[in-house]
Symmetry: C2
Subunit: 418 residues, 2 copies
Amino acid sequence: MTIEQYFQQVGQQARQAARHMARASRGDKDRALAEIATSLKQQRASILAANAEDMAAGKSSGLEASLLDRLELTPARFDAMIEGLEQVMALADPVGEISDLKYRPSGIQVGHMRVPLGVIGIIYESRPNVTIDAAALCLKSGNAAILRGGSEAIRSNRAIAVCVSEGLIAAGLPGTAVQVIDTTDRAAVGEMISHPEYVDVIVPRGGKSLIERISREARVPVIKHLDGNCHVYIDDQADIDKAMAIAINAKTQRYGTCNTMETLLVAEAIAAQVLPQLAEVYLAKGVELRGCAASRALVPAMNEATEQDWAEEYLAPILAVKIVANMDAAMDHIARYSSAHTESIVTENWTRARRFLAEVDSSSVMVNASTRFADGFEYGLGAEIGISTDKIHARGPVGLEGLTSQKWIVLGDGHVRG
Amino acid sequence: MTIEQYFQQVGQQARQAARHMARASRGDKDRALAEIATSLKQQRASILAANAEDMAAGKSSGLEASLLDRLELTPARFDAMIEGLEQVMALADPVGEISDLKYRPSGIQVGHMRVPLGVIGIIYESRPNVTIDAAALCLKSGNAAILRGGSEAIRSNRAIAVCVSEGLIAAGLPGTAVQVIDTTDRAAVGEMISHPEYVDVIVPRGGKSLIERISREARVPVIKHLDGNCHVYIDDQADIDKAMAIAINAKTQRYGTCNTMETLLVAEAIAAQVLPQLAEVYLAKGVELRGCAASRALVPAMNEATEQDWAEEYLAPILAVKIVANMDAAMDHIARYSSAHTESIVTENWTRARRFLAEVDSSSVMVNASTRFADGFEYGLGAEIGISTDKIHARGPVGLEGLTSQKWIVLGDGHVRG
């Protein structure tokens, strides 16, 4: 069987399963999630054995330490997979929600009904726990899923796929509602992204180059997240204590996350008051500072920032710092360099807060809060399939609702158009 | 200047104007619409003269009669353009609407704010009145627009573009917020659809082949509408009078619209009661009927339907007719052949109505109403940029809201993540 034939089979099965999933009740879907959890517990030993084989193969082929770390199913990660399933069970079912039902002058009643997207394709790295996360979210939102994890995790993913399929069948749902691509051939990705007749949307999760390639080549809509180049702007009417707390938290609470601040913008009129004491904390925590000339005049320990620094997502203890004339200059800088992920202003000024909220065109815009809050769990979505920096469909953290859309419904009593 | 250089200039101007438009107040935007209307009235003679030149050129180059008809700016169409502007002025401004603002356990308040998409590219046929419609909707929704009408209308569109630009400037908005592509070079379309840095979404309006080509080649998200292969299913528990009224209205109220019924499905148990009298009305109205074997046994005047008929969007007085065993068979037929535009069931049965609404995966799903209602005006959108048969972002009639999306906003008081 060629890879084209294999994917055609997978695609047809997914399309068929999707119709079944779209009409599954919340009860059925939650039962499937519970059955998958049971199956995972029963198969724990064999899944961990498969993962050990993946790890051994990864080590012998010289896989990087950071990739080996993500590949490993530690006991804690295994427990977290099961906990994740229970969390998704507890979430409300978005499917079938009817809203805005209104009578029109013609007498018909018109409104929206929330419905699954159909078949979701997810392309991700060699992180076997993502297989369960992604399966659970697609299943609960009434979609069928085609999952393509990194090839280093193929044995782990195969073992997990068996549990998912068993759980679906035990709950009376099609075992093909979640399919894990069972080949390490890279051509499978090419197939997944080029068949709108089988796949309704692609969610790539992974490195920037993978996501860029998929966006460029996909013939299927993509919900994507490229970088998180997030900004905090400290306005000259900021409360200094709040500014300190937010700027430190946004950078240092975690360095490697996409909602971490990468550039700090400070209003000229308040810079001398806030920047030296902030720099002291950053430097004590081992954060390298890269500043504009004006910043370096206030904090000589800063390195010099280059043009490249304003566009950089460091994901590391490095921070770019720039002194700006005022909020307009800050918003100009953000419009030019931001990746449209998350930006925050620290100010006590009502008018500026309202303008910043309205005018900054990012997926999350904040007033007096740390950028680290930009997260599906913090926003109350219960779970997150990713963070979209696209403009259409879903922006920011994407939860169950982002895997659905709304169709129109019309209720009549024999109504015809005049 | 090459076409690439020309488009780069247009794109940069649009991107810049979009930031300005995003923060324009409703007052400013409505003032611009009013000024455009004033300018159109003043320039009426010169616009009609330009249109007469387009018509003369079209005739001498042998343009089809139907295309000449669309190209012509009759006095009635000119008045309708001005009326359209007034209607869009009366619509509520969707931009800035804040919804779902809720406190989270962390203390932050999280919600959504509705924002423009940015720059909308619209590619359409040689219909100069669409230039004003599209400009008005993009402007009111706070977007910048790049409009590319058919080359036969270039003189009319140029003359209209002057009014739009004058109106924007008179209201203090950037004259480049709406730009009409001022070249008939087809390469301009290629440029529009391949620069996500300048264009956020493309809306193609026109023939199926154009839309297919754009969807295939676009590197920018597309809000598209391919066919309307719409179905009415008459259930065996239908009220006969309602079934007659709906089936006749859905087919014969207008033949050339995308929400016209193209296939009628009738439950076996009611076919003998309803189909002969329906056929009589259709035939009297000059509708050609193409039926399955069972239908033809009841109505010998029917022609024979081929496999191709089930997939056809006739846009003409032709109707495919099929007798099906029951609602499940009807839904299977719809899942296989429908273009996911609009489907309607006629039934008095509560459970079947609920199932049909939930399970049919089309952009509009109706109970006891004519498919002809699937329309932005009938749904209360006030205006319509098109009807989307896509699944993500906007489905069905797309009005002002479909040209916006929602970002997240977070309000805090110095909140940091623990």
